[in-house]
Symmetry: C2
């Protein structure tokens, strides 16, 4: 009974290559996600979805629409509404009205939000670097290339 056998303990034989790959991908994601979530809670009293949303905004100084956040974060619009509510209540972001289209909000980091995010982002990256420390840089680059092709594949042929 190991510490975290993971979902891919499902398969052992040598066929089912794609299925095993998917389960392994999911296991690695969950393992990293769990560690990052705990570190964000312990050190910054925040959550992964809030951190991710702020990270999206940090790269878009002009602000992002709710729908654009939904597309980039790969979650539904209703979900974005909830997370933006939380962060706005905390004073870290604001909904700005778009004079050209009254249906739209432009969501932006506040000064305090930018300050807090900069502080957290550096720590966050150091955790990630530590988690991947056992994988040689060369192999990381190969992995990155394969996942990039996979992502392109997955986004191309949406029904």
């Amino acid at each position: 009974m190991s510490a975290a056998p993971g979902l891919d303990s499902r398969l052992t034989d040598d066929s089912h290559e794609s299925l095993r790959l998917w389960l392994r991908l999911l296991t690695c994601s969950h393992l990293i996600e769990n560690q990052v979530r705990k570190a964000l809670a312990a050190q910054f009293k925040t959550t992964l979805p809030r951190f991710d949303l702020m990270a999206q905004l940090e790269r878009a100084s002009q602000g992002l629409q709710m729908g654009e956040l939904s597309r980039r974060m790969l979650v539904t619009g209703g979900n974005i509404t909830g997370i933006v509510d939380q962060l706005e209540r905390a004073g870290l972001i604001v909904r700005t009205e778009d004079p050209g289209d009254r249906r739209v909000y432009l969501v932006k980091l506040t000064k305090e939000g930018r300050r807090q995010f900069a502080y957290m982002a550096a720590e966050h990256e150091s955790w990630i670097v530590r988690l991947f420390a056992g994988i040689p840089k060369r192999e990381q680059r190969t992995l990155n290339g394969s996942l990039s092709r996979l992502r392109a594949q997955l986004t191309r042929e949406q029904p």
Copy 2:
């Protein structure tokens, strides 16, 4: 504005290899998860966590304890309680008492649960194979090896 830019649209330059790798891993997971979730809902009126829990049980004919399900699925025990409640209410699994330890339940698939899972699993694998169809088998094997090493790395050094 592409269909699904993904979380890793955060970074563009050539440093931050590990961070980019993590974001790409997460994006691929979410893209696949979203497709599988929709297919499970549309074709079988079920959800990903219920399917995953049944998959764990299918490989353990003697049954699994709640805590063992929690460890294998990388989620908290409270979460397992909820999913097991749902599946038990649907008649697909049962909680069996362990005569040797009265704190423990052994969770098992019912006959109907085994039947339904077998039916779903074949379809599920065909979706996965299709999603990975653009990645050559050779590259899938390489990816599998790298992710296997990463998983070992991530499970080894738990604090």
